[in-house]
């Protein structure tokens, strides 16, 4: 056995991962190789040194995590596209009602106020995600239209069947349909993801240059 081969077995010995045969070979080698015996001692010291670095987690780590978790619970959710659509719809309504008020000529202040409160209600409704959050996952999957999402986002959307390692570090948005939208680091990432994992790629109807792309998981 060469010292090079012994190196791996010495490390394996520390981890108790050598076969009996390997252990016997190593023993034999160590009998006549002083430098490998020293190496074994050095490795033991190295391991002890690494272990000495272990620390306790900061006292407030758990509390901080839970605080952040609570921020993400339904009810605290940021408004996404449906909210935007609802605001747009409310605006149209508001303009309509406002217009009516003008036609009436007399008291424009009254309908205007009504229009504003209508707008506020609509926006509030859209922002209340508990309705959506209450939906089961499979229902949500039916509701989401990936093509519409790609069009709305103006960027490619990959639909993949499960969470892959690549997605684990991506930023997330929660759609009102319940899905998590993964923001991928660049325009090609969605296509890459589809190639690697047999996903389906949806590109915006109007092609253009994209700076990001997205992924949605639909089992």
């Amino acid at each position: 056995m060469t010292c090079e081969e012994a190196l791996i077995l010495i490390s394996g010995q520390l981890d108790e991962r050598n076969t009996e045969e390997e252990a016997a070979q190593l023993r034999k080698h160590l009998e006549h190789c002083e430098s490998c015996r020293n190496l074994m001692d050095a490795f033991i010291a190295v391991d002890a040194g690494i272990l000495s670095l272990e620390e306790d987690a900061p006292d407030d780590l758990c509390a901080n995590v839970m605080e952040a978790v609570r921020q993400e619970l339904p009810g605290k959710k940021v408004r996404t596209r449906w909210a935007g659509l609802a605001v747009a719809a409310a605006l149209i309504l508001a303009v309509g009602v406002g217009g009516l008020g003008l036609q009436n000529g007399k008291d424009t202040a009254q309908p205007e106020t009504a229009a504003y409160s209508l707008l506020a209600d609509a926006a509030e409704d859209a922002a209340a995600p508990s309705l959506y959050a209450a939906r089961s996952y499979s229902t949500a999957a039916v509701l989401l239209d990936p093509q519409a999402l790609a069009d709305e986002k103006g960027a490619p959307v990959a639909v993949v069947p499960e969470l892959y390692y690549e997605l684990e570090t991506c930023e997330l948005e929660t759609l009102e349909t319940g899905e998590l939208l993964y923001v991928l680091p660049d325009a090609d990432a969605a296509a890459q993801l589809c190639r690697d994992h047999e996903g389906q790629l949806y590109e915006p109807s109007q092609s253009g240059s994209y700076s990001v792309s997205y992924a949605v998981i639909m089992p």
Binding site: D47, G49, P58, L61, V69
Partner: protein
């Protein structure tokens, strides 16, 4: 293990506060992995927090047939690697300059009360070790932390780092060897101190 899966199911069923139990169970290993990967307490805390938050968001994608710990460590290691990549992209010349001087932020001792000699020695050893670890390549730092501090099996490490078992074995050997070389080059007294454990001297030409 079974209890843990019951707990996870409970969280998924809407008992959000139960997530705190998972955090408490894993905060130490997750924090230590982050600490060894990024090298300072402040970033390690942020990274550990981010890892748990990602775990929270992705919990419904966790597959119950796999060990939760492996899933979580893999996610944590991704968070760390991502952070280190961002660090590299930032044009900070001072980072490399600091390397020789005072990079070991987490080892600051704010308490100035005199310490027993033994403790001082221990802290010195820790500083030397921490500095040496930081000079190691990322994948060496990670594999040594997972194996020596977290005491994970080769199988778990293989799963977390996407390696074959055989590669885990050889990489651990290379990592230990590299760390030993760094320690020898830095001329520290770690080996003379700890060799008492084995009652054997250390030859410096290894």
């Amino acid at each position: 293990m079974n209890d843990e899966k019951v707990l996870i199911q409970r969280i998924l069923d809407g008992d959000h506060e139960a997530f705190a139990e998972l955090v408490t169970a894993y905060e130490k290993p997750v924090y230590n992995l982050c600490l060894r990967m990024c090298g300072n307490a402040e970033d390690a805390k942020d990274l550990a927090q981010e890892a748990f938050l990602k775990a929270w968001r992705g919990l419904r994608f966790y597959k119950f047939e796999a060990a939760f710990s492996t899933w979580l460590y893999r996610l944590t290691s991704n968070v760390c690697i991502d952070f280190l990549r961002q660090q590299k992209r930032r044009p900070v010349a001072s980072l490399t300059v600091q390397e020789d001087q005072e990079e070991v932020v987490e080892l600051e001792v704010p308490d100035r009360a005199p310490l027993p000699e033994e403790q001082v020695l221990h802290q010195e050893t820790q500083q030397v070790m921490a500095r040496a670890m930081e000079q190691l390549e990322e994948e060496f730092r990670m594999i040594l932390t997972l194996r020596v501090i977290q005491e994970l099996s080769y199988e778990e490490i293989a799963e977390i780092m996407d390696l074959k078992i055989g590669t885990v074995k050889s990489r651990l050997a290379r990592a230990r060897n590299k760390l030993k070389k760094i320690l020898l080059q830095s001329g520290n007294n770690l080996f003379t101190e700890t060799s008492n454990l084995t009652e054997r001297g250390m030859r410096h030409d290894l």
